[in-house]
């Protein structure tokens, strides 16, 4: 990897680190960072595929309240670097995906350290507010963001310094049963993210939608975009009918107790 490529990778890692805390631009998501690192290191296709694969895994990872999720920013940049250094192209994606999890844990720890350091920064901002110094307020906010950038950029720089053949050697040392097993694990691990999301959204009202979605995906060849369009349509229909049903119920009609089978049995 040339010096220019290495600098570009570190810049990408720096931005990923900053957005990892901001959570605004979603620059740090694997789809974006892996693609960009793939692009600057000449592994575009492998980078895109890695990005897509990792994205599927991290779908449900989110920072809720004070809880910090496993660190996506470091996981995606570091595994894209591993992919680029390993020089295996698309074949290296499986291993890079498996490495993402330990990277995510390491990144989580670093993220929590910086968030603790920021307690000191917030006290410095208190002082700046006392002095009515807008400049210092701006400066400290910027310093905090830069710290978050560095916490990803520096470890990524270290990964780059380790000679390519060492990384390759380490990757080659992984036995095939391990990498094959990890690829299988990678196929299943996406379930965790989905489970987190479902736990947030599942209610008596939404479960039927889940079932319909599952069955349509299982037994038709529709693309996800088509299924998404169906989902929008059915949701809108439901909400509209629900409103109308509510109004009709108020208007009268005592036969509609919501249990037609029960009504029939009563009549019988």
């Amino acid at each position: 990897m040339s010096i220019i490529q290495a600098i570009l990778v570190i810049i990408i890692a720096f931005f990923a680190g900053m957005d990892g805390i901001l959570d605004e631009f979603e620059f740090y998501q694997p789809l974006v960072t892996c693609t960009l690192i793939g692009l600057v290191t000449g592994n575009l296709t492998a980078g895109i595929i890695l990005g897509g694969t990792l994205q599927m895994i991290v779908l449900g990872w989110a920072n809720i309240g004070a809880a910090v999720a496993p660190d996506i920013a470091f996981a995606s940049t570091a595994s894209a670097i591993v992919l680029a250094m390993g020089n295996l192209g698309v074949k290296g994606v499986g291993t890079a995906v498996a490495m993402a999890v330990p990277f995510a844990v390491a990144g989580l720890v670093m993220n929590m350290i910086v968030r603790t350091i920021c307690v000191g920064i917030t006290h410095a901002m208190d002082k700046a507010a006392e002095e009515v110094s807008f400049k210092k307020m701006n400066m400290w906010q910027t310093v905090a963001i830069i710290l978050q950038g560095l916490r990803v950029a520096i470890p990524c720089g270290l990964l780059l310094i380790i000679p390519t053949h060492t990384v390759q050697h380490m990757l080659n040392a992984i036995p095939s049963w391990l990498s094959a097993g990890m690829t299988i694990g990678g196929g299943m691990v996406v379930a965790v993210g989905y489970a987190m999301v479902i736990n947030m959204m599942a209610t008596k009202e939404t479960w039927p939608f889940f079932i319909v979605g599952f069955v349509i995906a299982a037994l038709t060849k529709l693309t996800l975009l088509a299924i998404g369009a169906l989902a929008v349509a059915i949701t809108l229909m439901y909400l509209n009918l629900d409103k109308k049903g509510g109004n009709g119920g108020n208007g009268g009609g005592d036969s509609n107790t919501g249990d037609p089978l029960g009504d029939i049995l009563d009549d019988y």
Binding site: E24, C118, V119, T122, M188, V192, M200, T206, I216
Partner: protein, 308 residues
């Protein structure tokens, strides 16, 4: 009348600056007061505009250094409301520190309750999954679409809800408890569950390898390779007989794996059950990281013993 004309206003340009700064809300996120630094940082252009004395400016800065935490994008309507309140105060209105902080604290909880499921558990996963499925085939449109669509949506949301908050002023809290917001959350979670169902079916991959049965097929049910003509005619004939899997079988023994049996119930059932298991573990407060590591271990062990 003159009083109205002399009013100091947070003009559109200043509001735009505030919105732009609010994108860096979480920059100094800390364990003590969370998004406080970012909130004060966002308010600076408005504070500069509204207050001229050091005393007033100091009070305003300190006011916004109090604890604050919500979904980053949901801060926008709250900032909009505080802009309206600060404006009222700068013009001599009867708005004290408690009122401003009360509005902030009162709104951040409920709005995070809407923002987290809508943004983190509906919009991002669905957009992410759609684009990731494109990317997994090596299509560069996946990442581009993800980044562009997300940011257009996000920025649009932030700017318009901040404007809405500013215009609605303190009345916004009533508005948000109204039916429209409820419909949005309800609709989003229904849509989300629908798409999740199909995502799990398509993307959770489990393949059980063990062979359940080996059946010797009768003559005529499989392609008799020895009796085929040689050369390209033979290939053509074989393809005709195979008929895309609808015709004769490729070998004389029909192998049924555990996966084939499961697929006859409904394809993707194993993935669904795995997802339910994960949901249960998460509800038992098992850390997602441990579940992930566990799944990898199961994958490796399963592969070694020949189950997966």
């Amino acid at each position: 009348m003159t009083e109205k004309e002399n009013r100091i206003k947070v003009d559109k340009k200043t509001r735009f600056k505030v919105a732009a700064r609010s994108q860096f809300l979480q920059g100094s996120w800390n364990y003590e007061r969370m998004q406080n630094g970012g909130y004060a940082f966002s308010m600076i252009p408005a504070i500069k505009k509204l207050y001229k004395t050091d005393e007033d400016r100091q009070a305003a800065l300190k006011r916004h250094m109090e604890f604050f935490n919500t979904t980053p994008f949901m801060a926008s309507p709250i900032i909009g409301v505080t802009l309206a309140l600060e404006e009222e105060r700068a013009n001599g209105g009867d708005v004290d520190d408690e009122a401003i902080n009360g509005v902030k604290v009162g709104m951040m909880g409920p709005l995070a309750g809407v923002g987290d499921p809508v943004f983190w558990f509906t919009v991002r996963p669905i957009l992410g999954a759609l684009c990731a499925s494109l990317a997994m085939s090596g299509n560069v449109l996946g990442p581009i679409m993800f980044f562009v669509v997300w940011n257009l949506f996000r920025w649009g949301f932030q700017w318009y809800t901040q404007e809405f908050g500013y215009k609605a002023g303190s009345a916004i809290t009533d508005d948000l408890s109204g039916t429209m917001m409820q419909d949005v959350t309800r609709g989003a979670s229904m849509l989300g569950m629908f798409v999740l169902g199909s995502l799990i079916q398509r993307w959770v991959k489990i393949d059980f390898k063990p062979i359940v049965s080996k059946v010797q097929l009768q003559k005529g049910a499989y392609i008799d390779w020895h009796s085929l003509p040689s050369g390209h005619e033979g290939i053509q004939k074989a393809l005709e007989l195979y008929n895309n899997g609808q015709g004769q079988a490729l070998s004389s023994v029909k192998i049924t794996t555990m996966q084939n049996v499961l697929d006859q119930l409904i394809p993707g059932l194993a993935g669904l059950l795995l997802t339910f298991l994960c949901m249960w573990l998460l509800k038992k407060k098992v850390s997602p990281i441990w579940i992930i590591i566990g799944i990898f271990i199961v994958g490796i062990l399963g592969h070694v013993v020949g189950l997966l």
